[in-house]
């Protein structure tokens, strides 16, 4: 027996998609500013980058408040319970047509591997980006000759950006690994997901 639940509230989906849009924009413009390619021109790229970053910081502040106020932050507490099974599934079981060992439900939406990846993104990559980014943005305030050099700030920012790109690549691929290739995407758009009935699963 399965039933349809609301996995992601409207607010969560708004958070996700604004973050997705802004991060894509930030990576595209950021690596242009970095000199990796020329797309819209340095000046436009730099300006877009800064404005998108400021917008994303606002989104983050609201999201952080929401996560703390609702206790939703617990979704991301790392656990090793069931991790081995999930790893085995992606490395083996998935190819044999097995079903996913993790059964998501609104109280715990993410499988252990997924939660760890989001935690890594949320507490390591993102903060590195916005802390170094804010220092970078304010370099004129403290970047006096002999003062803080731009290079270490830029290096941290770039390194974290590579981390974000890697996260994005894997994240995009993982979207396709649901029951159908578009199932996860649909869930993130509609918020609805079909889950196994907890009672039945326990019985089974």
């Amino acid at each position: 027996m399965t039933r349809t639940v609301t996995m992601y509230s409207g607010l969560e989906r708004l958070w996700h998609w604004t973050q997705a849009l802004l991060m894509t924009l930030l990576l595209a413009t950021g690596f242009e500013v970095h000199g990796s390619y020329t797309l819209m021109g340095y000046g436009t790229a730099a300006t877009t980058h800064v404005l998108a970053a400021l917008a994303l910081i606002v989104v983050w502040v609201f999201a952080a408040f929401w996560l703390i106020a609702t206790g939703e932050w617990r979704q991301y507490t790392p656990t090793t319970r069931g991790l081995a099974a999930v790893l085995r599934f992606y490395a083996w079981g998935m190819f044999r047509g097995e079903s996913h060992p993790f059964n998501p439900r609104p109280k715990r939406k993410h499988n252990p591997l997924q939660a760890m990846a989001y935690l890594l993104y949320g507490v390591v990559i993102s903060p590195l980006l916005w802390i170094s980014g804010l220092v970078y943005l304010g370099i004129d305030l403290w970047g006096t000759p002999g003062g803080l050099a731009l290079m270490p700030v830029a290096v941290v920012h770039t390194a974290a950006a590579y981390g974000a790109v890697v996260f994005l690549v894997v994240h995009l691929y993982m979207i396709t690994t649901g029951p159908t290739p578009t199932a996860h995407l649909e869930t993130m758009i509609t918020g609805k997901e079909e889950i196994e009935d907890a009672a039945e699963r326990t019985a089974g």
Binding site: H34, G35, Y42, R96, D140, V170
Partner: protein
């Protein structure tokens, strides 16, 4: 409510229209700039004719009692500058340049541009007020001419210079029409340094007399309509702006409200935060970012995208070692390019010219040091005629644009020194007469009291000319990407992290590797998934 709204609207409109009308009316009234309080044509002292320039000067001095001494204490008079920081004795009297090299022993020719009358030898009386030439700067008629080879004396007979006919001026007429300096008077000398129009600086030539705004947004009549003296303000005949001690980073800006600063810097008008904040976040960020550059990048670096862009070429290379060649029939040679610029002259050697040139960018602390003929040089590599310091660690230095003049000029290979040389003169020693370097150099070095071995060789030299004129309109300034790029204009400036150009190699290597691993891992996983999925479906 609706009953009230209409009269309120009418009142507002009325207020608006009257304010608008008042401002429009104010804008329409031209404000006279520094109107003169005297009409020189009314002065008794200036009626009648004058036999020579000194008579005019004596007349000027009867009212302007201090002007003679003011001019005489300025660099325009002595051509001498004791550098306050380096202690070097500079000025045209002492330096060597990479054009006609030096003033010593070439006086009567060089001093055609002296702000005085008769400096043709070492015994010139620098203390004589009546030898000051007031008219060369204060002529407004455009008819005042100094003789080209007579030590700054007024032209007395009609002559031709570079194909231009010159006629002797009516000194009385010129004297009765004196006024402020102008682009024409300053340019009369400063546009023609280094052997002709535009030759020397690259950012100063006759195209600035009536430029389009695109060439010089300040000096264009359709732009700000400024003259040289509007920026190069004077105090007691001392003119602001020096190439020996440049104000490479002006931190003072406009000064207090109404303060008249003795400075020719961009900041003295535009302030230290010159880019106005726009009305939207993007424009605000951009203005903030550009203002944030102004402590490290000179205004000129972005706002003068190219020099010599008014249609007048500037010299880029002057090779004196090629001088002295004669044609098969023993005549002196003069060759020109299609624009009429001299490319070879027996008296000069080989010369190259350029237009629309991209500046060379260097950190510059403003203190220009010269290689003088009393210093030893290493001619195994290009000798810097002038050099300067500066770098990212120096708060007073900024990145400045330069014209880099290159060439070859005589030096003494035994004493390893640059030399003075006598080019001009009727005697056989003068190179332009005898075409022999040894006596030309011996004569000049003897007069300067410097040793000369008698050997002559040629050293390749470099001379840096800061670029500061030909400021383009804002929309023609460099874009960010002109510098923030791998092969951009800052390519030669290392020692700083330039976004868009620089990266930490380790981060790049590991970052790209991680990205490649992620993409590869995903691809392999995907292919396996699809392949095994299909096989499983076929099996069932």
């Amino acid at each position: 409510m609706p009953a009230l709204r209409l009269p309120a609207l009418a009142v507002l409109t009325l207020i608006w229209v009257s304010i608008w009308g008042a401002t429009a009316a104010m804008a329409a009234v031209p404000i006279p700039v520094d109107p003169p309080t005297a009409d020189h044509s009314e002065f008794d002292q200036l009626q009648g004719d004058f036999a020579n320039g000194r008579e005019v000067t004596r007349a000027c001095l009867t009212c302007h009692t201090e002007a003679g001494e003011q001019v005489r204490s300025s660099i325009h008079w002595r051509w001498e500058y004791e550098h306050p920081y380096t202690g070097q004795l500079l000025g045209k009297q002492h330096v060597v340049n990479s054009f006609c090299n030096n003033v010593t022993t070439n006086l009567a020719r060089c001093t055609a541009c002296h702000v005085g009358y008769g400096w043709d030898g070492p015994d010139f009386d620098f203390s004589d007020d009546s030898r000051v030439d007031c008219l060369v700067c204060h002529d407004t008629t455009g008819t005042y001419e100094k003789a080209p080879k007579r030590a700054g004396r007024v032209l007395q007979e009609p002559t031709r210079v570079h194909g231009h006919k010159l006629t002797p001026p009516d000194l009385g007429e010129v004297a009765r029409n004196v006024g402020p300096t102008s682009k024409a008077t300053c340019g009369g000398c400063h546009f023609f340094g280094g052997g002709g129009n535009g030759s020397k600086h690259g950012d100063l030539d006759t195209s600035l007399l009536d430029p389009k705004p695109g060439l010089d947004v300040h000096m264009s009549p359709d732009g700000a309509g400024l003259t040289c003296g509007d920026c190069h303000v004077e105090a007691a005949h001392h003119i602001a702006g020096s190439r020996y001690q440049v104000n490479a980073r002006d931190r003072k800006g406009t000064g207090r409200p109404g303060e008249r600063r003795h400075a020719a810097s961009c900041e003295s008008c535009h302030g230290t935060d010159p880019h106005p904040y726009g009305d939207n976040p993007a424009a605000m960020y951009q203005a903030r970012k550009l203002n944030g550059h102004s402590d490290r990048v000179a205004c000129q670096s972005c706002h003068i995208p190219a020099f010599a862009r008014g249609g007048v070429a500037t010299k880029t290379w002057w090779d004196w070692s090629k001088a002295g060649r004669l044609s098969a029939d023993g005549n002196r040679i003069k060759r020109h390019d299609e624009d009429g610029n001299l490319t070879y002259g027996t008296r000069f050697g080989a010369i190259r010219w350029g237009e629309d040139l991209t500046p060379t960018y260097r950190w510059f602390d403003g203190t220009m040091r010269f290689t003088l003929p009393d210093q030893t040089v290493d001619a195994s590599e290009p000798v810097p005629i002038n050099h300067f310091r500066g770098g990212p660690e120096d708060p007073d230095a900024r990145i400045w644009p330069f014209k880099m003049m290159r060439g070859k000029q005589p030096y003494d290979p035994v004493n390893q020194r640059l030399v003075y040389m006598q080019l001009f003169g009727k005697t056989e020693e003068a190179y332009w007469t005898g075409l022999d370097w040894q006596p030309a150099i011996a004569s000049a070095m003897a007069q300067a009291g410097l040793p000369f071995s008698g050997e002559v060789a040629f050293a390749e030299t470099r001379m840096a000319w800061p670029i500061t004129h030909m400021v383009a309109p804002a929309e023609d300034a460099l874009a960010c990407g002109d510098c923030h790029a791998e092969d951009g204009r800052m390519a030669e400036l290392t020692g700083l992290y330039l976004p868009g150009r620089d990266a930490a190699p380790g981060v790049e290597r590991w970052g790209r590797l991680a990205l490649a691993a992620a993409v590869l891992g995903v691809a392999v996983h995907l292919v396996l998934r699809l392949w095994l999925n299909r096989r499983r479906r076929q099996d069932t």
